[in-house]
């Protein structure tokens, strides 16, 4: 029988459906959302023969467990973690065949934070504004997983998986984030700009899909007063009144009223997705 769906056995701390996001609606106040580690999403999708745009699961810290109602090819990537099928160890970072009714258990991340789970055919929930991503800031897309929820799968992809052994960048021991100053670096003192570019910060446990919060030296403003709300981009480093920089991630608000000292390169943000609290962070200015 073929009932193309998976049931949630254990939802985990925070497991959401993610694809590559919801672009083009920022002018209506809609965040871009999407997976925090898009490179990992592309790889797990390739391992099961899906297009890179197919929706996958993004877990946080402690994984999740699922029971497919049909035989399905899966791949787990992103944060390294134990993978088990009916209690038996299975491969991480490779295609795994899971029989109908078997339990696929994705364990707690050994390193890093977020694992990505692709199913052949992709998670086929109804798209909202062109994306199946869960947006935790504005509540668009499917709700985070709860136990016993059932997620539909798309049709089996044609052809064999196109990769066997993909390259996996390991989770970072330290983040080195390339940053371009501006647009509001002139709101900060020269000392603050030097502090930002040279001192070490640490990932705060208050970080989430909206932003990477940092602990470390406060950045002093040269310009007092309020900035009128303005559009915000992915990777913007906003500095609220407490002076602690905050890097905007996928679910960031589309506008904001705190000055942005610089913007982190988009290609460096995938490692941010895997940085556990306490990870050292340095910002390196680039042109």
């Amino acid at each position: 029988m073929s009932d193309r769906a998976v049931a949630v056995v254990r939802a985990g701390a925070l497991t959401t459906v993610q694809d590559l996001g919801r672009g083009g609606y920022a002018h209506l106040g809609v965040p871009r959302s999407g997976a925090l580690d898009p490179a990992a999403v592309r790889l797990v999708n390739r391992l099961v023969g899906n297009p890179g745009t197919a929706a996958v699961l993004e877990t946080t810290v402690d994984g999740c467990a699922l029971r497919p109602r049909c035989a399905v090819t899966v791949a787990v990537g992103g944060a390294p973690c134990p993978v088990r099928v009916d209690g038996r160890p299975a491969a991480w970072g490779a295609s795994v065949r899971v029989g109908a009714g078997s339990v696929l258990d994705i364990g707690a991340a050994v390193r890093g934070l977020r694992a990505y789970v692709a199913f052949g055919g992709g998670i086929d929930v109804e798209p909202v504004l062109g994306s199946r991503s869960t947006d935790l800031l504005s509540g668009l897309g499917p709700a985070p997983l709860v136990s016993e929820a059932v997620l539909p799968l798309g049709p089996v992809p044609a052809g064999p998986p196109p990769v066997d052994v993909p390259p996996w960048p390991g989770p970072p021991d330290a983040l080195v984030l390339r940053v371009r100053f501006g647009p509001r670096d002139d709101w900060f003192t020269g000392a603050a700009l030097r502090t930002f570019a040279t001192r070490a910060y640490r990932v705060s446990p208050a970080s989430n899909r909206i932003g990477l919060r940092l602990e470390g030296p406060a950045l002093e403003r040269a310009v007092p007063g309020e900035l009128a709300s303005e559009g915000m981009v992915l990777g913007a480093v906003q500095v609220p009144p407490d002076g602690r920089p905050l890097v905007f991630l996928a679910d960031h608000p589309t506008t904001g009223g705190y000055p942005v000292i610089g913007v982190v390169r988009e290609s460096d943000l995938g490692t941010v997705a895997q940085a556990v609290p306490g990870t050292p962070v340095r910002f390196t200015p680039v042109r």
Binding site: A26, V233, T254
Partner: protein, 226 residues
């Protein structure tokens, strides 16, 4: 006539923030961008995000080149008044309405007349999907945010802050002064377009308690007071 001051700031690798001298100039510049995009003379951009006195262009292939182009643009004409105004029927029963009227130095009834007489325009959206910042009230009617924000403002609340009027698309925390409520559905992803209000939309608020003025706007699913 001198050209309005335009400052083009780089934002990361793929975005520009265009800073105008004020809100009206930002709206005119935004309208100019939309005209150029419709004409096919604007290079591809993923997002055009107007705000209080800036417009963000994100997902730009060659920001350097676009920045140079923008610096050479003639100032655009004022915002074109095209299309019908969206009517939003309001029950003017908000808890902050008496305080707003007192600040304006008028009676509650007169405050309602002031709000329903103005023609508004969506200057920009943000805060939540479908939340528009509407300008149109005279500068003397600006009000501050509440000193203490409410932890939950009901969906459909019509509220004032600074020079803006806004309508909460869904229940959320908020610090704006609540003057009334509407059944109009501001945001419905099952509808095309999902947003009742988008930048540039003209808006009139009507007094739902006046006979014959309380008709819901078309397409709003008036029974769905979310």
């Amino acid at each position: 006539m001198t050209a309005p001051a335009v400052r083009v700031l780089r934002v990361g690798e793929r975005a520009l923030l265009v800073e105008l001298s004020g809100g009206e100039e930002a709206e005119a510049f935004h309208a100019e961008l939309l005209r150029r995009r419709a004409d096919g003379t604007l290079p591809a951009v993923r997002e055009i995000v107007p705000a209080a006195r800036t417009v963000l262009l994100d997902g730009v292939a060659d920001p350097e080149r676009l920045a140079a182009e923008i610096a050479g643009w003639e100032p655009g004409p004022p915002h074109a008044r095209v299309g019908e105004a969206v009517g939003i029927p309001v029950r003017y029963d908000g808890p902050d309405l008496p305080g707003v009227a007192a600040r304006w130095g008028v009676s509650v009834e007169a405050a309602v007349r002031i709000h329903t007489a103005a023609e508004f325009r969506v200057a920009f959206c943000g805060f939540a999907p479908g939340f528009g910042y509407l300008t149109g009230l005279d500068a003397r009617y600006e009000v501050p945010r509440r000193a203490t924000p409410r932890t939950a403002v009901p969906a459909g609340s019509v509220a004032l802050a600074g020079p803006y009027t806004g309508v909460y698309p869904r229940s959320s925390p908020g610090g704006w002064q609540l003057i009334g409520t509407t059944d109009a559905v501001l945001w419905d992803t099952g509808r095309e377009p999902a947003a009742l209000l988008s930048p540039g939309t003209r808006v009139r608020f009507t007094d739902a308690d006046l006979p014959g003025r309380g008709r819901p706007v078309p397409d709003s699913g008036a029974e769905g007071g979310r």
